[in-house]
């Protein structure tokens, strides 16, 4: 990788401006501190912030969150909003894993109660939730028509088929179903990929992690979210699996043609796009909603198997385990939202690619139970350190189109991580720290080495100091299943 000289201006301790020049339609703003900014300049992510600023109809700034790193098309940790009349939608601004996201579950259990039973919990989870490359459920056979119902109704489909309860839906972004999904726009190949993989975790950085609340930063908000010190929590990280990848793939072909048709100049083909009000743009959004709904259903079904696994491993009933979703957020998505642009309320299409929505207290889309405190934001870290629960703020709403970071962000390529892990047993190292890991492949564990990631605490401190989210609680891992 060649280091480049970007023209960067420091705005304050946590924000950096990439001034508008050349074909950029707006300036870029990146959230980071001084030392992080040095690291960020080593890969191509700032060029990607610049590239996004070229796209027609972009409003405000092309944004980078502190977990920004080199992606394809948009940077990972990228946020951009587009005007409804002049703006575009780009599948590369959402990513292949459409509605990859995170769900946090709280429980009625505390750390002491399960300390001797972790081994059976992790084994039970590993058996009940298929993971790994091309994982599929042998016990779940869906017809093409049924998959279309999943695509239309998302987590609501899952609940109506016995996976969890109606109350769960209140604690999911968009109540687990994005409006406007049209399964007829999803290719048969995408459905074929979706048929076999619903209810599976997949591989790479996807996981189910059992942990506990290790620190509380705001007692009152934590109480509202149902989190207390030493309480057991579960984090689920997965997305739309092969179905989402195929929808993205199919529409990139459509968008390459559309970019030519609408004379959109592209700095990177992966940024191919179409006007929001074109047939191509509308079709993509309707297909994207299908993949997003599939991912919501996926996390809802996995929640059901998490509940079953706990009940089996601990020999308790649902009334004792009391496993319920705190919240479920998307971090690869494009959505229509109202924001203030130069003091005027405008409808925009906000792309979040490796970024989380962070709506403030009293926003109409902040769930009823959290109206007073703001929308929960869930930020998982690496396997060995910790994760965070935050809430959205007014400042996020005014400065970042209601967005914040989504995770730790890699600092090491998978290749480097594997080299670093040579001769070590990552599972053993984690066990010595009190963390049990079950993984489908040893390679995944090596690639997901804790040091391969930025320290999530540093990332979260930046969004806290910049005021675009507020820290509520820290979670520490006890056991993890990986793909």
């Amino acid at each position: 990788m060649n280091e480049r000289n970007y023209k960067i201006q420091k705005i304050d301790d946590y924000r950096w401006r990439i001034p508008r020049e050349g074909k950029m339609r707006v300036a870029g703003i990146v959230y980071a501190d001084e030392s992080m900014m040095k690291e960020i300049q080593k890969d191509e992510s700032l060029q990607q912030v610049i590239n996004v600023a070229y796209l027609p109809g972009i409003v405000g700034h092309s944004l980078g969150m502190p977990d920004i790193h080199w992606g394809y098309g948009f940077p990972i940790g990228g946020v951009a909003a587009f005007d409804m009349e002049e703006g575009v939608v780009s599948p590369g601004g959402v990513g292949y894993d459409i509605n990859c996201g995170v769900r946090l579950l709280s429980t009625g259990l505390c750390r002491m109660e399960i300390s001797g039973k972790l081994e059976s919990i992790v084994d039970s989870l590993f058996v009940n939730i298929p993971s790994g490359v091309g994982s599929h459920r042998k016990d779940l056979k869906l017809s093409q028509q049924e998959v279309k119902n999943v695509l239309k109704n998302g987590a609501q489909w899952a609940v109506s088929h016995g996976y969890g309860s109606k109350e769960d839906l209140e604690h999911i972004e968009e109540k687990g179903c994005i409006f406007g999904a049209d399964p007829e726009l999803v290719s048969s190949r995408a459905i074929e990929r979706g048929l076999a993989q619903l209810g599976t975790l997949g591989s790479g950085n996807h996981f189910v992690e059992v942990g506990y609340v290790s620190e509380i930063f705001d007692e009152e908000i934590a109480r509202t979210l149902g989190l207390e010190k030493d309480g057991i929590t579960i984090v689920v990280h997965t997305g739309s699996r092969g179905l989402g990848y195929q929808v993205c793939d199919d529409f990139i072909k459509v968008m390459i043609r559309a970019s030519g048709k609408y004379n959109i100049e592209l700095p990177d083909r992966q940024l191919c796009c179409a006007p929001l009000n074109s047939p191509e743009g509308r079709d993509y959004l309707a297909a994207m909603a299908c993949a997003a709904n599939y991912a919501f259903a996926n996390r809802q079904m996995i929640t059901h198997w998490v509940r079953e696994s706990f009940e089996r491993a601990l020999h308790v009933g649902p009334k004792e385990s009391r496993i319920s979703p705190v919240y479920d957020v998307c971090h690869n998505i494009a959505k229509f939202e109202d924001h203030l642009v130069n003091g005027q309320k405008k409808r925009l299409c906000v792309h979040r690619k490796g970024a989380t929505r962070a709506f403030p207290p009293n926003h109409p889309d902040t769930p009823a139970a959290y109206k007073a405190v703001g929308q929960p934001v869930l930020i998982p870290g690496d396997m060995g350190r910790c994760s965070y629960v935050l809430v959205g703020t007014e400042k996020a709403y005014s400065d970042t189109f209601g967005s914040t970071c989504h995770g730790a962000g890699r600092v090491m390529s998978r290749n480097q991580a594997t080299k670093m892990a040579k001769g070590r047993s990552i599972a053993q190292e984690l066990k010595e720290k009190g963390i049990l890991v079950r993984a489908d492949s040893r390679a995944t564990l090596e690639e997901e080495l804790p040091e391969a990631y930025k320290d999530v605490t540093e990332v979260v401190d930046i969004v806290q100091h910049a005021g675009i989210s507020k820290k509520v609680a820290q979670l520490k891992p006890l056991c993890v299943i990986k793909g």
């Binding site: 098309g73 190949r189 492949s441």
Partner: protein
């Protein structure tokens, strides 16, 4: 001659692919992808398929070719190790590919590739050789 080399990409994986001719470049790209996915030393040539792919230009043809193979891997559970381009131009190709059905007892899957991206995608000819760069989404 080196068929390909890995390039460091923070989140995903990228490869530089080399070939004396375009067909060789495409064949080496497919080999590189399966070499990343699995340990090919244990894969046998029990199954032969003929596939045809098209695209709007050579870059998209390369993405579509690799995506088609990825689909056969993921959904038909296939691993391939040899690739012969029978006929090709900038917008279409026909190939004969050899491999076998994935057998978890014998085969080791190393990396799951989600998709073949267009980011930084290049195909260039220099000094009678071809080289290409492809970034995969993992």
């Amino acid at each position: 001659m080196l068929k390909y080399k890995l390039i460091d990409h923070t989140a995903d994986i990228g490869i530089d692919i080399f070939g004396d001719t375009m067909p060789q470049l495409f064949s080496n790209a497919a080999f590189a992808m399966f070499d990343i996915i699995a340990d090919l030393s244990t894969v046998e040539k029990k199954d032969t398929r003929i596939i045809a792919v098209d695209g709007i230009d050579k870059e998209q043809l390369l993405v579509n070719w690799l995506s088609e193979l990825l689909y056969l891997h993921e959904i038909k559970n296939m691993l391939f190790k040899e690739f012969y381009i029978n006929d090709m131009n900038d917008i279409q190709l026909k190939a004969t590919i050899h491999g076998e059905l994935l057998d978890e007892k014998r085969h080791v899957i190393k990396t799951a590739i989600k998709a073949v991206t267009y980011h930084n995608l290049t195909i260039i000819q220099e000094n009678d050789h071809w080289r290409a760069r492809v970034i995969f989404d993992l």
